[in-house]
């Protein structure tokens, strides 16, 4: 099994130097701990926050918080050296126009054709859409990081989503506590197994075929 930290660390390996990355709320935010900070030559990893930051830094030191510097989760954050602030239209030009290299998002369900459901549970309380649909539709690449099964034990990786969709055919790769899997159209392809996890266990806990 991968711990949450190991999942985050594994996700960080997917990111190239100089990349612009958006991290969704929840598990994806942990990835930040494993990313190289922006460097004076423009390298490192540049975090985008859809409320209008490119170059989002870590949480502020105690006492340094600025109520007017927040992330898309409305938490106090900082801005790195070389970071910029802009309006929401520019932010979504960046997101929807393919200027974010990678978005790492949480998921309620991912289908074998890359459909993503991560904004609403049928019959559940509606929390809203926020930037989720734009990030899913517009990022150059979508990586999902999620527990392999839901709290009720049901598979999150499925042949077809029955939860309300966020976007169709957008997910590329999924990192779960059990494995790293690629969306393969007719199922999921295992790229890597977590320590002490068997292919049979993955197969059993996945609601779609595991293909070669």
């Amino acid at each position: 099994m991968f711990s949450k930290q190991q999942m985050a660390e594994r996700a960080a390996q997917e990111i190239d130097d100089g990349a612009v990355v958006n991290l969704g709320i929840g598990l994806p935010t942990l990835v930040a701990d494993y990313l190289p900070a922006p460097t004076p030559d423009g390298g490192g990893v540049w975090l985008q926050s859809e409320n209008g930051i490119l170059g989002m830094g870590p949480f502020p030191y105690e006492g340094d918080e600025d109520p007017q510097i927040i992330n898309a989760g409305k938490q106090t954050v900082t801005i790195v050296t070389g970071g910029s602030c802009f309006d929401s239209a520019t932010s979504f030009t960046m997101i929807r126009g393919g200027h974010v290299d990678l978005s790492i998002l949480g998921a309620m369900q991912v289908s074998q054709s890359g459909d993503l459901a991560n904004w609403a549970i049928p019959g559940g309380r509606v929390m809203g859409i926020g930037g989720a649909m734009d990030l899913a539709a517009g990022s150059k690449r979508i990586l999902v990081i999620t527990s392999h099964v839901a709290k009720d034990g049901k598979p999150k990786l499925v042949a077809e989503c029955d939860f309300p969709l966020t976007a169709k055919g957008v997910v590329d790769r999924v990192i779960t506590d059990l494995a790293v899997l690629d969306v393969a159209g007719d199922g999921f392809r295992v790229v890597e197994l977590a320590p002490e996890v068997t292919l049979d266990e993955v197969r059993e806990k996945t609601g779609a075929p595991i293909v070669d």
Partner: protein, 232 residues
């Protein structure tokens, strides 16, 4: 007639029942706090509120909901806004939730004289239901329409008497776009500066998008989720 108003009440002249109002701010960050409070006191009702979050923690625009002066909301996220959850549950407010990029692009279109646009966001989801979906170069897009309003209530860091604005950090968010999409844009600025104080290249939003300016020096600046790390 000067754009600079002596009070928030004067800055809201002409507001009446049934008005549509865009309010800047991402949650409680970047809210025009004094203008929002003044509308709650004003007496106008049956308002259409266009805002990303419609308040939170019982503060900001949540007060409008509690007062029952809002008939309709267009927003993108409800989250922990219990006031809005309650209003949705009892059906007292007609709430439309749309994707955030579509939200701001609809206002940008409204402000730019564009009637509608084709976006990939929402294709294959509930968002596209009842809307035209069309293929361009092998990809599907949904037609979204421009959004305009009677008023935009926004906060800026600096304003000059012509209405040239500068914003501060993430308090900028939707505000400059809303300013373009409203008939009457009212700006609550932290600091009223003299004409010429802002270099031509440093103006975030030119004055032609602003109709009224009022200086408000005190803000509550609520933090929704305080996150810090210990000093090393």
């Amino acid at each position: 007639m000067s754009k600079v108003k002596a009070s928030v009440a004067e800055a809201l002249e002409g507001l009446s029942d049934g008005a549509s109002i865009m309010c800047g701010g991402f949650g409680l960050c970047g809210n025009a706090e004094a203008l929002i409070a003044a509308v709650a006191e004003h007496g106008a009702k049956d308002l259409t509120l266009i805002s990303n979050n419609a308040g939170n923690l019982g503060k900001g625009l949540a007060v409008w909901l509690e007062k029952g002066i809002v008939g309709k909301i267009i927003c993108t996220y409800v989250g922990t806004n219990e006031t809005l959850h309650a209003a949705m549950a009892d059906g007292s407010i007609d709430v439309t939730i749309i994707p955030q990029g579509t939200f701001v692009e609809r206002m940008r279109a409204g402000g730019a004289g564009i009637a509608g646009f084709y976006t990939p966001t929402g294709v294959g989801t509930v968002v596209a239901e009842g809307k035209e979906v069309r293929e361009f170069d092998g990809r599907e897009y949904v037609l979204e329409r421009a959004l305009k309003a009677d008023f935009a209530l926004i906060r800026a860091h600096q304003a000059d008497p012509f209405g040239n604005l500068r914003f501060y950090r993430t308090a900028r968010n939707f505000s400059p776009i809303m300013a373009t999409a409203a008939t009457t844009t009212v700006v609550e600025c932290d600091e009223l500066v003299t004409l010429g104080a802002l270099d031509p290249d440093d103006v975030h939003l030119p004055g032609s998008f602003v109709q009224r300016v009022v200086q408000v020096t005190e803000h509550e600046n609520v933090i929704e989720y305080l996150k810090t790390r210990p000093r090393p």
